[in-house]
């Protein structure tokens, strides 16, 4: 507590960071501010620049523009080995010729920690990742999940200013991945370490993060809590990337009582909650989550026909057609499972509809 600026400085701050490989711009004007102890996830499709952002924070690649600060200190020009950043690689990158002890002790050795202290810290780190007593083994003698934990221990033991995790769970099988997800989150809370996590698995992102940065083509599409990005997508990309949504282009024909009447292109009319900036005559895209499209026998609802049905246990996934448009519906099964070819009524609650403008941004 040396001064107010120390306590309020974000743990990690990126200001207008741009990075180009030769002529290809991999990261475009990214600004991001992360609080101390926060768990932030970079989520986006393959090749959107997630790894590049992590590598530029670690210093493994040099941004072509912008500033990066860690713990209030500019680090763009600090050499890699003086940055004090913990990085866990997708393939773990454990040193195959060194024992588990030497792997974890590696960073401490270069921080001139004395021998007895190193031994104590390594032991504590191994306890923390629940692998006590494996000091003498070689990485090749450990399973994938165990190697994952060792890599985590190696990164955390140096008490870095920020922990960077590049798809650390993607090499694990589904069961182990879920287990490690929980464990990783517990360890992160225990240590209270600021963490940037990279994944293209949205479930992982939603489950683990304090905040999610949704990226596309090197740019930030949306930054918010898991609920924010899931329930209030700000762009067409976020709406289509997270979960399963229907994106229905159309035009607003009338607005009344806070509700907009939207004539869908080549299809029926739909009623959507009208945001303040909605104007009659504007071209819009209506976004409805597949879970919010319910089908039943109702008559006053939008009439439709089931094109395909998949029974998934508690829920069912349908494609239904209504007046020339096709809708996806993932509904819990209330009455019964509808079969292909059956005529049904489709209900969409206006409050569950979001409107995007022509550029693909959400109307507010």
């Amino acid at each position: 507590m040396t001064g107010p600026s120390m306590t309020t400085a974000p743990a990690v701050e990126l200001r207008n960071v741009t990075l180009a490989y030769h002529t290809f711009v991999a990261v475009k004007d990214v600004s991001l501010s992360i609080r101390k102890g926060e768990f932030v996830t970079l989520l986006g499709p393959s090749g959107c620049g997630k790894t590049t952002i992590l590598r530029s924070i670690a210093g493994l690649v040099q941004p072509t523009g912008g500033e990066i600060s860690v713990a209030g200190r500019r680090i763009d020009n600090v050499p890699i080995h003086k940055r004090n950043i913990g990085l866990v690689f997708q393939n773990y990158a454990l040193f195959p010729h060194k024992s588990i002890f030497d792997n974890i002790a590696f960073g401490l050795k270069y921080r001139k920690v004395e021998k007895a202290e190193i031994a104590r810290k390594v032991k504590r780190a191994l306890d923390m990742v629940r692998l006590p007593g494996v000091e003498k083994k070689l990485p090749s003698e450990m399973s994938g999940g165990q190697q994952q934990r060792i890599a985590l221990a190696r990164a955390i033991v140096i008490e870095p200013d920020v922990l960077l995790l590049d798809e650390p769970l993607s090499a694990l099988d589904a069961n182990l991945r879920e287990e490690m997800r929980t464990e990783l989150k517990i360890i992160q809370r225990e240590v209270g370490i600021t963490t940037i996590f990279v994944t293209h698995d949205q479930e992982e992102a939603l489950a683990m993060s304090d905040r999610i940065v949704v990226m596309n083509k090197g740019e930030i599409e949306q930054l918010g809590t898991p609920e924010d990005v899931y329930r209030r997508p700000e762009t067409r990309f976020v709406a289509s990337f997270l979960g399963q949504s229907n994106l229905l282009p159309g035009r607003i024909t009338a607005i009344a009582d806070g509700q907009a009447r939207v004539q869908l292109d080549g299809g029926p009319e739909i009623i959507a909650a009208a945001p303040a900036s909605a104007r009659a005559g504007a071209a819009v895209t209506v976004v409805v989550r597949a879970q919010k499209v319910t089908i039943g026998a109702g008559s006053k609802a939008m009439p439709g026909k089931v094109i395909s049905a998949s029974y998934l246990g508690g829920t069912a996934a349908y494609f239904v057609e209504s007046g020339g448009i096709r809708l996806q519906s993932n509904a819990t099964i209330d009455e019964r499972v509808w079969r292909e070819g059956e005529a049904v009524g489709i209900t969409i609650n206006p409050a569950d509809c979001l409107l995007l403008d022509e550029k693909g941004d959400r109307l507010v």
Partner: protein, 293 residues
């Protein structure tokens, strides 16, 4: 229940596939060596004539005459120097080729192989034009007035070692290159983020992980250098002869086949022992991993 029993045909298949190599090896390697071994117990009468009676005279001569021991020792020394110099000279280019971001890496590798397109003997002779009394170096030094008489560069042990390095360096570079190429670049990045400078990361990660290739290269260069006789013949004086030249001279000069056979077996066995001890020490599987990984 029990695992599927192999049919007789399945059990035969590997042997059938191995047969051509096995037959070639036995006929062209093992058998001639055995014949040579038998020859080493024949009695030398006069140039080109030997009596087919059993005698240990050749072997007694080898074990008692320090002339041979001196050549053996010298051969080991020259081969070791050559191998070590090859390692020192070969590591940097191997590292460079493996690490370069240059798009046309294959071109650099091709450059390594280009010398093999020219006959080994011609390549060796080319040194005469560089090191000889009328060679490039002496002429240049004399022209610039740095020396008044040509230096004796050719027909020295240095020239022999130089010639062998010329011939062996590509083998060394390729061996090291393959093992560096196989190192996960993330390991270097990991070492760097954990606090290593670029040099320390090299020492901690690249060097130890490239050791199998380096060791394989050293063994290969040592064995090839120790067995060579053309290079010392062309680039060395009689004092710079190696054990291979002694064998050559015994067989082709004195036409003493029994003694020549004994000496050949000696060289073969000694190099075999070196390879075995070396692989025990290093783990031959690790050495081969350097070649394959």
């Amino acid at each position: 229940m029990a695992a599927n029993p192999q049919t007789a045909a399945e059990r035969r298949a590997p042997w059938l596939l191995l047969a051509p190599s096995l037959i070639t090896l036995v006929l062209l390697m093992i058998l001639p060596i055995c014949i040579m071994f038998v020859y080493s117990f024949y009695e030398f009468v006069t140039a080109g004539v030997e009596k087919h009676v059993y005698t240990t005279a050749n072997w007694r001569e080898f074990f008692s005459d320090s002339y041979y021991h001196m050549f053996l020792w010298k051969t080991a020394r020259v081969a070791a120097i050559t191998a070590i110099l090859c390692a020192l000279l070969g590591y940097p280019p191997a590292y460079f080729i493996a690490m370069t971001q240059y798009k046309h890496k294959w071109l650099l590798l091709l450059l390594l192989i280009v010398p093999f397109w020219i006959s080994f003997t011609i390549r060796t002779f080319s040194w005469i034009h560089i090191l000889g009394e009328q060679g490039v170096i002496n002429v240049l030094l004399m022209k610039t007035g740095l020396i008044s008489e040509p230096l004796r560069l050719l027909y020295t042990e240095g020239a022999v070692i130089m010639g062998m390095i010329h011939f062996l360096l590509p083998y060394m570079i390729l061996n090291i290159y393959v093992s560096i190429e196989g190192i996960d670049r993330n390991l270097i990045s990991a070492a760097r983020t954990l606090g290593c400078t670029a040099w320390q990361a090299f020492y901690e990660v690249v060097l130890p992980l490239s050791l199998p290739g380096l060791m394989a290269g050293l063994l290969l260069c040592f064995v090839l250098a120790a067995g060579s006789y053309v290079t010392p013949d062309i680039l060395g004086s009689t004092r710079d002869s190696l054990f291979g030249n002694v064998i050559f001279d015994t067989i082709m000069g004195q036409l003493n086949w029994p003694m020549g056979s004994a000496l050949s077996i000696v060289l073969l066995v000694l190099l075999g022992i070196v390879a075995v001890i070396y692989s025990r020490f290093m783990g031959l599987s690790r050495v081969f991993k350097g070649l394959g990984a």
